[in-house]
Amino acid sequence: MSIAYILQKNNVQPRAHGNAFQATNPVLYSPSMSVIEVHNLTKQFPLPDGETLTAVDDISFAIEKGEIFGLLGPNGAGKTTTLEIIEGLQKPSKGRTAVLGFDSLKEVQKVKQRIGVQLQSSSFYDYLNLGEVLTLFGNFYPEQADPDELLTIVDLTEKKKSLVKELSGGQQQRFSIAVSLVNNPEIVFLDEPTTGLDPQARRHMWQFISKINSQGKTVVLTTHYMEEAEVLCDRIGIIDHGKVIALDTPEKLISDLEATANLSFRLEKDVSAETFNGIEGVLESNKNGEGVYRLKISHASVSLPPLIQWAEQNNNRIRSVEIVRANLEDVFLHLTGSTLRE
């Protein structure tokens, strides 16, 4: 199995293109199109007990123009810290980042002028209405988008005269995305844009993010919802304990898994789970207390025919068959040995 996409040591990569920012996938990588470059980035925080916490541990990657790039990982993996260093809000301990060719540290004003930022759970002034907040924030930039247009994008036109605190949670999230667009930025950073939203509002939000992306803006987001990453992102960096452990398109990450499907079924006559280890393409097999067999298989087309054959030969009957395609959760489990959620 090829594990080329697994960046166990992120900076030790084939440098066939002679560029330190070579990320993961030689096919997608194109140096002329990178809008964000992260180079050997490390961030350490002193802890109260005198230890140091390494929030970001020597990571490198590049983000291409026009894509939706997702940093996927559990809470505390280092997603927000990475984002805030790129945005110029935090200083790196080591390494450097660049946005549109401007250094996030040395040319921070130029970076800030060209990006839009939505912070995780930030709020705005209580006593300004939406239109006024957009005008106020617009005044901080040389180039300003029209507040009415911004409200149209996030479907809040009729709330223009409302105060921010009068909005629902989902509306506030949408509004903070609108604020991130006040300077008509080339790149938009969204830090957990759907955290705390109900499933419907989350799907609604995905539409807005796609809409923004379709206007030619590069979108960089963080999330700990693998479904979100899978649906929304062109490419995903999986981040855990401060390291990028995989970076590719969702499809590639999944198809690169040895087990691309999970097969589950019941049997008329119970047998031991080990029975199936001999069947072609079965990588792992187990049985739960309710008599449900679960097999991790490389491909359904490889393993299904011999399984049916086995049942016929042994006078058994297979019931309630379910084949579920592997998802990013399986990728994360495979890479880290733990699940994404908590």
Binding site: F45, E87, L89, Q109, K112, Q113, V117, L119, S121, S122, S123, F124, Y125, D126, Y127, L128, F137, F140, Y141, V179, N183
Partner: protein, 353 residues
Amino acid sequence: MLFRDKQALFWSLAFPLLFLVIFGLFNFDAPTNFSIAIIDEAQSEQSEQLKFQMLDLEIFTETEIASREEALETLKDGDLDGIITIPASYGQFEGVEGAAPEPSVFSVTLDETNQQSAIIVSVLNQFLNELNLQIASAPRLFTIETEGVQGQEVKYLDFLMPGVLGMAIMFSAIIGIAVGITRYRERKILKRLMATPVKVQSFLMAEVGSYLFLSFMQIALILGVGRIFFGIQVYGSYFYLILVTLVGTIVFLNIGFFIAGMSKTVNTAEAMSNAFTTPMMFLSGVFFSPDMLPGWMERIVDFLPLTSLLKVLRGISINGSPLTDFPYQFALLGGWIVVSFVLAWKTFRMDRA
């Protein structure tokens, strides 16, 4: 933002006025009056005459009470300030020739918890001395004439108003900045601003500007209400008064930023602001002069910014002094501006984890 929160704005303007109104209701300047019961044990013509003379002073008002027991009861209830007993021996000394007579002993019964009642004793004492002198026909050799150095009558409210002025700007600047900025930080508004190209200095200057404007409104309101409703006299320049108050505002704003830098939560900011402002309000002499403090304490209190500010404000308002009369106070205020600015600069952060 400051002016959008209309409730908060109203209270920061109304709060100092409240002090002015409350203290305006107390009539500190009117002559004091005590209600007393006079128990006449002598029951003579002379004692009756003495009683009239006593009440003639217009400092005592007699309450007619039948018995000593009833009088004591009324005194305990607080409806009476004191009981004066004229001894039975009063008026009988005339019969004794040659030798000095035994003094007649007047007794005064007081409620010790009534602070002002001690004045009754000194008034009575003076009254009896006077009486002694008259009866002994001794020549009056010494006398006192009082004269105010200010050349004008200063009422308590005239003294209070500059105090309220200083207190008002201290409270609104320190608490406003400390709590306001900490709240912005806690709610990540500061961080959001940091994500824009706006400069930290521009944001802070805008905050300072709006608080200076608020101070100006407070000054105008306090001076206006004081003048119109309470007839408070300002003998000096209004312009100096405003100027000096704004200088004080800058000191307090710096202290506010310092507290905002020190505190991680709004609750801490509130507690720290109170720890700075409340002792200063009492020690620096908003309501009464700090001269009553023990000497060492007074010297410490002299260093507080509000003390200097109030001295200058009172000087201008009450005496009409020019600014050049206060080099020490201005040096101290200048020092405070520098020190508090450095402290604020060292501790203040836009974001804090």
